[in-house]
Symmetry: C2
Subunit: 477 residues, 2 copies
Amino acid sequence: MSRRHVLSAALAACLLAAAPTSMAAADAPLSAQDIATAVKLREAALQPDEHLAWDLTESLTTEVGQRLAGTPEAERGVAWAVAKFKALGYDKVYTEPVTLPLWLRRHEDASVVSPYPQHLVVTALGHSVGTSGPMQGEVVEFADLAALKAAKPGSLDGKIVYISHRMLRSKTGSGYGEAVGARSDGPSAAARLGAKALLIRSIGTDSDRLPHTGMLDYAADAPKIPAAALSNPDADLLSHMLRRGKPVVVKLDLDCGEQGLAHSFNVIGEIAGSDKANEVVTIGGHLDSWDLGTGAIDDASGLAITMAAGALIHRMHLKPHRTIRVIAYMDEESGGIGAKAYADAHAAQVKLHQIGAESDLGADRIYAFHAGVKPSAWPVIEQIGQVLAPLGIVTEKGGYGPGEDPSMMAARGMAWADLSQDATRYFDWHHTANDTLDKIDPAALGQQVAAYAVFAYLSSQAPDSFGSGELPVGKQY
Amino acid sequence: MSRRHVLSAALAACLLAAAPTSMAAADAPLSAQDIATAVKLREAALQPDEHLAWDLTESLTTEVGQRLAGTPEAERGVAWAVAKFKALGYDKVYTEPVTLPLWLRRHEDASVVSPYPQHLVVTALGHSVGTSGPMQGEVVEFADLAALKAAKPGSLDGKIVYISHRMLRSKTGSGYGEAVGARSDGPSAAARLGAKALLIRSIGTDSDRLPHTGMLDYAADAPKIPAAALSNPDADLLSHMLRRGKPVVVKLDLDCGEQGLAHSFNVIGEIAGSDKANEVVTIGGHLDSWDLGTGAIDDASGLAITMAAGALIHRMHLKPHRTIRVIAYMDEESGGIGAKAYADAHAAQVKLHQIGAESDLGADRIYAFHAGVKPSAWPVIEQIGQVLAPLGIVTEKGGYGPGEDPSMMAARGMAWADLSQDATRYFDWHHTANDTLDKIDPAALGQQVAAYAVFAYLSSQAPDSFGSGELPVGKQY
């Protein structure tokens, strides 16, 4: 996942009331046979010898590794996805073009020059400009983005701004939404006040000497200044130095930057529907990753979970009413570029999208089920939720939103669902070199394959629309 | 700590019988007044506002940082220790010269060239030769050092050997002793069979993409080949690739090596004794560190704990019989070079060393107390153990050994003690960039200051010798 769509604490607080767990027959639009089939799918995904999602994650991270959008590695990812969809027996496998801004990280280095010379571990923020050789400046610390914005104009001329706000850990990942402004808006906020560069404490909950990258968002009205994240221990170190009251001078050397446009692809695999084959239920994850790790939890696992869910429906010889479309989105990390391309290409087909969902908050278990559907469709969501409940998943009404990628179609009026993953550990590794296969619990993947298979199958069986084409347009989640 | 002196599982198994907890008056050589004073020291160290050890650790890691022996940073460490001992009111502060082999790490990089091109995170083993530019070779995996040693001579000509053994976690750190042979003896074992380089899985219990360095030990009868450690996730990755059965070619580029001799110092602070001032109880830690982290748990904390223990005795206006000597050893990491210099310089004074101990197994709590003393001195050890018991420390007879640094004097017949720290977490961070201040629990430091203050004070008050000069000479622990 990139920077958007993580719940604020306030939103999360709205969601305390769980959905009712029993339902009158009149409110049960899905047939008993469909429910029974979904239960079979769920149980099949939970079998101890069912490890397709883990195998796919292992394969993508081992045979391809990092997949920074626009690089040859990402193109190897595209080829991998095409080949895997085909090998898994998907009925239709194809690509759709995505044009994206290529950004490359070549070299990055930082150190304290005085008063206590020490190396600092940093990583450039995604799409940062470089420093054009080493630059040096006195550091001015701010507790958070708001404190920076309150500084006097011109007061930071030639300074290196450092935002030391620490992200808080939570199951929902709400701390991310609270912290990420420093990364997205910090560079332009600092530049407007005259700063020559920005350092932030990594947006992450770990204490590892591995910094977290992620997109920045240069504003049109501010100079583009270089920006990088310090690992949490390095941020501690810098704060400890600054606390002593002497001027702290830092040297920063970032060789990185945008390199024009690149051409790549979303990769799509479909399990063909029967009588409503032209309507689609979309699930998926993103195929690209940041360049520091192997993109295991962000988002090989999400893609693998949903590919495995589709494959399971195929393997059980089910013929759903609607087509189940698994989308491997390209370049989610730069702001949902592939998802925008998909939404543009399918703008005329919003009504044909029954519902869309994405797995992109790590590899840990799903604990809640949310949906953005028309009110009359809620009983179907409740029914799906009843099949999900034995997986430890609670159906909750209101709040939340779709993942980054489906949000592009949701903004055009598509119904959406969110199978919310436990993000407690996710931000320890998110966007770092530590995003590797060893962080993944195979049993947790099984639970999620079960949930996505149930969700996708039953959504395809729903007698009526979930409201796509009737829902509000232009909504930002 | 470096590579020696960590208990094997077999040794640990010998130590199940804890010492008796009550004692006849005839077996209580320490006076009731001494015991009461020691209890006061213990309680003072545990006060919530007593944070000297943490302050010292913070100061050394913030103001100096890494202290690779022979570098200017290590010399800043020497100046820091001299200044701190003086500021803490130590009665005598002085240095003793140490000549050591300087080794420098300049650049290190590795990648899989084929069949799945990916970056690998490696770090050169301490005192490895470089690769003289990038070198390339096919990887041959061995499960452990024994499997490597069993390979046929010449079978590894031009290969890069990879030892994939994973260290096990334990409270005693026993897994280290079982794993570390791959690092110390692996390079020469591989070279004898024709290999051009060695890669090992990091000797560490973590799953972070931060490799563990540490000394290798080139044998005189083998060519010196470059050697590096892969982080645990990178070792996993390489093993996953090799499992596919295709040849895996790795490129390795290590620019590092020895740079002649350097001159440095052990730094010593003393709390003067009274009637037996020419006899010494030595405690301490090592001042040098590896170059990747800030040397917080290895061993700023150990030095800080023992400096704080001495300072506490001074602050409480105690006048111990014997002198309490706190030694900040230089270059423990290359094999106890400073400790050897100390042992050489004080070879004629073994009998004047009442006992020696060192804190060098991280920053977590002490759970056991061991000693190497003559049998008639054991009742004093038992009495000390009774004052340590409320700290959760069990006195155990037999086995174990002194830390790396005191072992040099112990090999000359000095009595020793070991205040054994809980090493459960230590090898997650040991010898990595993750060895930073945030890993330290201030409350755990307080417990250890209490233990060292009690141990040092009561050892100085013991009416008789602990056996130094009568104990076996030449013993290797």
